[in-house]
C-alpha cells in the first residue's frame, strides 16, 4: 500500500544466488532498440529497457500504446522488426538460439488466462513440465500440487478450468508459469478481465511473488497496485517509453505532460 517498501525490492536483488554466467551488474533482460511494425503500423518505436534480477517493473500507458507488444517481444512471441533482446547475457533474437528453452525461463501470463480447457487444472501445469522439461510424472504432479497450494488452489487439482471462477483460472495460469521455475515473469493485464473482487485475489498472489523477490514485468491498468508493488514504473505512449522512475516519481511527480494527462484520466 505504501511507497516506502518499493525501494526494498531493489535491495532484494542481492539475495539472489549468483549464477556462473551472470555478472550481477548485468541486467537479466535487456531490450535494445526494439522496433516493431505490423505491416505499415509502427507499434514500437525504439524501446530500450533493462530489467535486473529482483526488479518489479510496472508498465503503464494508454490502450494501444504497445505495452502488450513490448511484453510479447521480450519472449519473442512477437518478433521485433529490429533490435535485440538479451536474456541472461545471451542475444535471444539470434535465430540459432533455441527460443523454446529461453521461454521456459521467462513465464508469461495473459489477460484471458488461456488455460487449456480440455485439460484438468493439474494437467495444465504438468503439460509443459513433462513435455518440455522432461520431468517424471510423479515429480511433475508434486510440483503442480505445490504451485497450486502457493496460489491457494490446492483443492482444485482435478477440476476443469471451466469449473473455476475467472480469478481462480488466472491463479492457475500463474501457477502454471511458476511451475517452470522461470527467472522472470511477464504479466499482461492479468486482472483486466476480472471484476474487482476477483482481481484482488490475483493481485494478492502477485504481491506475494514480489515479496519473495521474483523478477517481474507487469503491464497493468491498476495504478494503485503498480504504485504499491513496483520498484520501477515505465510509462509508455505511442510505442515509446515516455517516462520512467520509482513509483513516487511517476505518480507523485510526473514530468511530462503526456504522463500528467494520462494520470489525470486514470486516477
Amino acid at each position: 500500500m505504501t511507497l516506502n517498501n518499493s525501494s526494498s525490492k531493489i535491495a532484494k536483488t542481492e539475495a539472489w544466488p549468483n549464477n556462473s554466467w551472470e555478472n550481477t551488474s548485468e541486467p537479466l533482460l535487456s531490450m535494445q532498440g526494439i522496433e516493431k511494425y505490423f505491416g505499415k503500423a509502427h507499434v514500437l518505436k525504439g524501446i530500450d529497457l533493462e530489467c535486473y534480477r529482483g526488479e518489479v517493473i510496472a508498465i503503464i500507458g494508454p490502450s494501444g500504446s504497445g505495452k502488450s507488444t513490448l511484453l510479447r517481444c521480450a519472449n519473442l512471441l512477437e518478433e521485433p522488426t529490429t533490435g535485440n533482446v538479451i536474456f541472461k547475457g545471451k542475444d535471444i533474437t539470434d535465430i540459432r538460439v533455441d527460443i523454446n528453452k529461453v521461454r521456459t525461463k521467462m513465464g508469461i501470463v495473459f489477460q484471458s488466462y488461456n488455460l487449456f480447457p480440455h485439460k484438468k487444472v493439474f494437467e495444465n501445469i504438468t503439460l509443459a513440465l513433462r513435455n518440455v522439461l522432461g520431468i517424471k510424472k510423479a515429480d511433475a504432479l508434486k510440483e503442480a500440487e505445490f504451485e497450486l497450494k502457493r496460489v491457494g488452489l490446492g483443492e482444485k487439482m482435478d477440476a476443469y478450468p471451466s469449473q473455476l471462477s475467472g480469478g481462480q483460472q488466472q491463479r492457475v495460469a500463474i501457477a502454471r508459469a511458476l511451475a517452470m521455475q522461470p527467472d522472470m515473469l511477464l504479466f499482461d493485464e492479468v486482472t483486466a478481465a476480472l471484476d474487482p473482487e476477483l482481481s484482488g485475489e490475483v493481485l494478492q498472489v502477485i504481491r506475494g511473488l514480489a515479496e519473495e523477490g521474483s523478477t517481474m514485468m507487469i503491464v497493468t491498468h491498476e495504478m494503485g497496485f503498480a504504485k504499491e508493488v513496483a520498484s520501477r514504473v515505465i510509462f509508455m505512449d505511442d510505442g515509446q517509453i515516455v517516462e520512467q522512475g520509482t513509483p513516487s516519481q511517476i505518480f507523485d511527480d510526473p514530468k511530462t505532460s503526456r504522463l500528467q494527462k494520462f494520470l489525470s484520466q486514470v486516477l
Binding site: G107, F110, H118, L127
Partner: protein, 359 residues
C-alpha cells in the same frame, strides 16, 4: 380488447368474464380431443396398412397388389381422411380461444397431424386407384431378394469395410493437409490448397476411374481392386476432411497456441497437445457426416465393374436387378443403407445437440 376494458372498468370486466371464460373451458377439452383425433388419423393408416399387408401376406407380389387395391385399404384411407379433416377443423377453431399454452399446443399439434394424415391418405388413395400389379411385381417382389439376402449381408460388410478403411487413411491425409493449410508459410499452404481444390473440383467417379484404371493400365501397377478403391476414396475424402479439420483448428482461440508456446512447447508439440485435441473435438460431427457420405459414395465402385467377390451394397442390388429385372433389389439396398446410416445420423444429431448446449 376485453382485457383493456377489464382494466378500465372492473365492473364491465366482471360481466364480460363469464362469456369469455366459459367457451375457454370447453375449448380446453376440445383441444385434447383434437390431439387425440390427430394421432388417430395418422396412426390408423400407418398401423392399419401394416396389419393389412402382413395379414394378407408379403411372400407374393400378387398378394401385395391385392392388398394395395383392396377395399379395406380404401376404407382405412377414408377413415384417416375423415379423422384428419375433423382434427384440422377442431384445431383451427380452438387454438386461438384456449387459455393455456398446453391446450393451444394440443390444438395445433392435432391439426398438423390431421394435415399429415390427409397427405398420407392421398398417397394411399392414389395407389389404391391404380392397378398395382405391375408396381408390386417390380418394386415389392421380395422372394428373389430374400433368396439373395446373404449377398446383401456381404455387400454391406464390403461397403462398411471399404468406407471405414478409406475414412482412416482419409482422416490421416486430411489432418496432414489441414496442418499444412494452417501453416504460417505460404510455401506449405499452397500445395495443400492446390490438392484440395483439384479434388473438390472434379467428380469422384472420375477420380476413382483414373486411379483404378490409370494405375493398372497407365502405370502398370497392379495393386488389386480393394487397395485401389481405398486409395481413391482416401485421396478424395482426405481433401474434404482437411477442410473440416482446418476449420476446427482455426476455431481454437489464438491464445491457446500462444500459451503453449509461451511455456516453451515447440510448435509441433503445441499443435499436438493443445490445438489439435480441441479443434478435432469440435469437428467430430461434420467428420462423421463425411463418413456417412463416404458410405454412400462407395456405391460408385459399381460403375467400375468390380468382380463378384468384391461387391458393395449397391453392386449387389444392381446385379440382382440385372439378373431378375426386379427393382425390389434397389429398394432392399436402400433399406440396407438406411440401417447403416440412420444410427450414425442419430449419433451426429446427439453430439451436435450436446455441443450446442455447452461442453
Amino acid at each position: 380488447m376485453s382485457s383493456i376494458e377489464h382494466l378500465q372498468s372492473p365492473d364491465a370486466g366482471l360481466k364480460k368474464r363469464i362469456p369469455f371464460v366459459k367457451p375457454t373451458g370447453e375449448s380446453r377439452s376440445i383441444s385434447l380431443t383434437t390431439l387425440t383425433l390427430g394421432w388417430a388419423s395418422i396412426l390408423i393408416p400407418t398401423l392399419g396398412s401394416i396389419v393389412l399387408f402382413i395379414s394378407r401376406g408379403l411372400d407374393d407380389f400378387r398378394k401385395i397388389a391385392a392388398s394395395i387395391n383392396s377395399a379395406e385399404l380404401w376404407f382405412i384411407a377414408a377413415t384417416a381422411t375423415a379423422l384428419g379433416l375433423v382434427a384440422i377443423v377442431l384445431g383451427l377453431a380452438t387454438y386461438k380461444k384456449v387459455d393455456t399454452k398446453k391446450a393451444r399446443n394440443q390444438s395445433i399439434t392435432g391439426a398438423l397431424l390431421g394435415l399429415q394424415a390427409l397427405v398420407l391418405s392421398g398417397v394411399i388413395f392414389a395407389f389404391n386407384n391404380t392397378d398395382a400389379t405391375r408396381f408390386a411385381q417390380n418394386f415389392l417382389n421380395f422372394p428373389q431378394v430374400i433368396n439373395q439376402l446373404h449377398n446383401f449381408w456381404s455387400g454391406a460388410m464390403y461397403t462398411i469395410i471399404l468406407a471405414t478403411a478409406s475414412a482412416v487413411f482419409g482422416l490421416a491425409l486430411g489432418m496432414a493437409l489441414a496442418l499444412l493449410a494452417v501453416s504460417q508459410k505460404k510455401v506449405l499452404r499452397a500445395p495443400a490448397r492446390i490438392y484440395v481444390n483439384v479434388v473438390r473440383g472434379t467428380p469422384l467417379l472420375l477420380q476413382l476411374s483414373l486411379i483404378y484404371f490409370g494405375m493398372s493400365l497407365g502405370l502398370g501397377i497392379n495393386m488389386g481392386v480393394f487397395p485401389a478403391l481405398v486409395l481413391g476414396l482416401s485421396l478424395h475424402v482426405g481433401a474434404y476432411a482437411s477442410e473440416t479439420l482446418r476449420a476446427g483448428l482455426q476455431s481454437v482461440e489464438k491464445g491457446q497456441l500462444e500459451a503453449a508456446r509461451g511455456l516453451g512447447l515447440t510448435y509441433g508439440k503445441s499443435m499436438r497437445l493443445v490445438v489439435i485435441p480441441q479443434g478435432f473435438r469440435r469437428v467430430i460431427p461434420p467428420l462423421m457426416n463425411e463418413y456417412i457420405g463416404l458410405i454412400k459414395d462407395t456405391s460408385l465402385v459399381a460403375f467400375l465393374g468390380v468382380s463378384l467377390g468384391q461387391r458393395d451394397l449397391f453392386s449387389v442390388a444392381s446385379q440382382g436387378y440385372a439378373q431378375f429385372f426386379n427393382s425390389t433389389f434397389y429398394i432392399a439396398s436402400g433399406i440396407a443403407y438406411l440401417v447403416i446410416t440412420i444410427p450414425l445420423i442419430m449419433v451426429v444429431t446427439y453430439l451436435e445437440r450436446r455441443m450446442r448446449n455447452g461442453r
